[in-house]
Amino acid sequence: MTDLPTSSDVVVVGGGVIGMFIAFSLAEAGMKPLLLEARAFGGAVTGGSLAAIGTHMHGREEFDILAYARGRWRAFSDASQDRIEYNACGKMGFILNDAELAAGKSLVAQEKSQGARSELLTPEQARLHEPLLKGPILAATFDPDTATVNPFLAVRALMKAARKAGAQLRENTPVARVLSDAGLVTGVQTASGHCISAPHVVLACGPWTAKLAANFDINLSIVPRQAQCLASIRQPLGTLHKVISSCEAEGGVDSGYTQIQQCPSGQILFNTVTAPIPTPEGAEDRVGEVPPGFVADSVETLLKLFPALKSLPILRSWVRFEGVTPDARFLAGPLPTAGLFVCAGDNGSGFCRAPLLAQFIADGITGAGTLPDAMRRDTERLYNPFRFSEGHTA
């Protein structure tokens, strides 16, 4: 790329929803960020996202943070005249056994105590919201305030807003390494050898973030995990209404999860993962195919809950790689090399945290105090990149 600048206020590495929101927040704060994306903007983990936004089923500690982020998404949607398909559809967690019922009850109680409108529904009540949900559920959790956005359009709208605010964005520009001198970040070098000097660099490269940090002997606990989804041919709108999700009793994503929803195009998106799938060799360069067992599990769960969809024609599948951390939370904040920041470790749900994390990183770079003090402190603590003892080996 010949049109790359030779210097910038701040370089953001990674053009997914996280990197793009950071570039947007930095530009809004008056900086002139340069964002470098290795391939297509929003083309990897972001593009494969079901992009649910809200507080439901994310636990006590992140509740306020997620509520803040949802507010920011709604405001962004209003500002972009809803070209991002913001849809406050609500989210339902289906409960199939007693252990899940106990988990669902305590979940609803906890969220209510924090101010959510969550409730526990009987199967009959659940069917008022979701008439085709004829499967053998014992109950369902329900949060009316969960929303979805169109992940592609969200990134496109963020790009537009970021550019308007003064950010420069470049795709097909992989960064080979981050440059430093005497413990200070000095810029980045692209894969084609071009050097850009910058006093600040933000690593927002999702599952592949640890590679760039490793050059500094910084061991970031982020590993890629394969995730996948199936999409049907368009169905009449109103076939499904809510984001349908499994209500996990314990173990979180690693012990399996399900998500089913109909997007505004009419397509039904669904996935059930019963066990983590190892990341194949070379996954960064060539995205693989969904495993047969995944298709079978996903169809089985879908038809168990929605028997009427047995002839649903499957049109498409996709595989993506999420950045996974040991406690399923982001790593966000400054790294020991001055000027270097990280914001990665989506664990499969980056959209619902993106606005908050972007503001936190932008504030950290500009020194502004946009976030309330308590929320900033919580964010520092919850997403501290070195909260795991083995974090920093330098």
Binding site: S265, R286, E289, V295, K310, P313, S317
Partner: protein, 482 residues
Amino acid sequence: MTAEHLCCDVAVVGAGPAGLAASLAAAEANAVVICIDQFPRAGGQYHMQPNASGTPFANTPQVQQGQQAIQACEAANVRFLTGAELFWAEPPKTPDAPFRLHLARDDQAIVIEAKTVVAATGAMERPMPFPGWTLPGVIGAGAGQRLLKTSGATCALPFEGKTVLAGSGPFLLAVASTFAKAGQGIDHFVERQPAALWTKAKAMLRHPSRLPDAIALLRDLSRTGARRHMGAIVTRAMGNGKVEAVEISPVGANGQPDLQQSFVVDGVGALCIGYGFQPVIDLTTALGAAHSYDLSLGGWYCGVDAMSGATSVSGLYAAGEVTGLGGANPARISGQLAGLHAAATCVKETSGLNDTAIQAIVTQLNKHRAFAATLAQLYPMPESFPVPLAEDDVVCRCEDVTLADINAAIAEGARENLAVKMWTRAGMGLCQGRNCGASIAATLREAGVEPEHTGYNRSHFPLRPVSARIAKEALTCEFSPD
């Protein structure tokens, strides 16, 4: 219900000229062969078998050669699975494991375990949008030919009114020949390339053995009674709810239509239009074979070893149009080559391949490929839209995406097929980008991105839409050891 489970040495996907030749060659080399095809009868487009007896097509050489090839395959114990939709293929999990092909047929799941696979998936039309191209009655030239061949005893297109056959390439002559054999007239024949008789004659003289075919095709075109417009293109289809009129314009020296000199044909019932074909690469891309781009071969095609038909994936062979457009002759010969090699890798009791015989096949193949290259040079496929489009013209008809939508995405930074697709949904619909891929590439090309950098929609599960139930039955099929 559970899936039916079949095993074979060589699974041939596609029963056109390449697939039939591959099946026969492999079966004669003692391989257990299953040949699958999505159509109800083997033969493919070229050898398409008539669906009624006594039609004028029954005695054409294409049908009879096809019938002989099918019978020869049956005599050699090739098992045909027709009317079968291949919706997924898995490469071997270990070097000794088989490929797994997943099919839907008569609402039933079938799983084939095959030691080797020959992809003979053929070609499909490469539609190019122009104003009015989505009106009912506007169909591909290939679709027109297929409709005619499968129209049973009526032997006519199901449209009232004049017929216009338009586009570019020798295939248009083949379609005209089908009309002549059906006893159907054509009102207007519109070929984008100028007559350039001397250039064509010189090119044909380098391949004298093909002259009789060429003369026969031209004679058939005369028999249709078509008024010929050489060096002209259809610049607009017009009508209320269906095509009723067609605007034809001469092509100027700059390659662009001269709309000042256009004229309108009224009373049109059918516009059959085709600017060329493209290889069907779903199966080979899904299995991870290497592909390259060459416009004269139809765009993206599956690369193969010239001596064996082997792709870059071990055990996967490819033959015919999927390896680059060339027509029925190279298809048949490359099918034989691929079939022989596929069988040799998995049948122990073959006497091995005869190097001299293989060399003779390769020589033949190269000769036919050279002729195909000559034709491709005479009739280059358009890489850009042949007619300038208006901003509100639809480019992706599955998802109703206009040129304006795509241009807006490009203006905001989309630089490849994938980015255009994510932001506009072009290519996300039923056809998964098969039909609009070349158009998106043409739009990106106008923005300065060459097609080889645009990329293509690599196929993912499923290759074709499949019901949730059948997918599950096929993918959970357990195999008992042999």
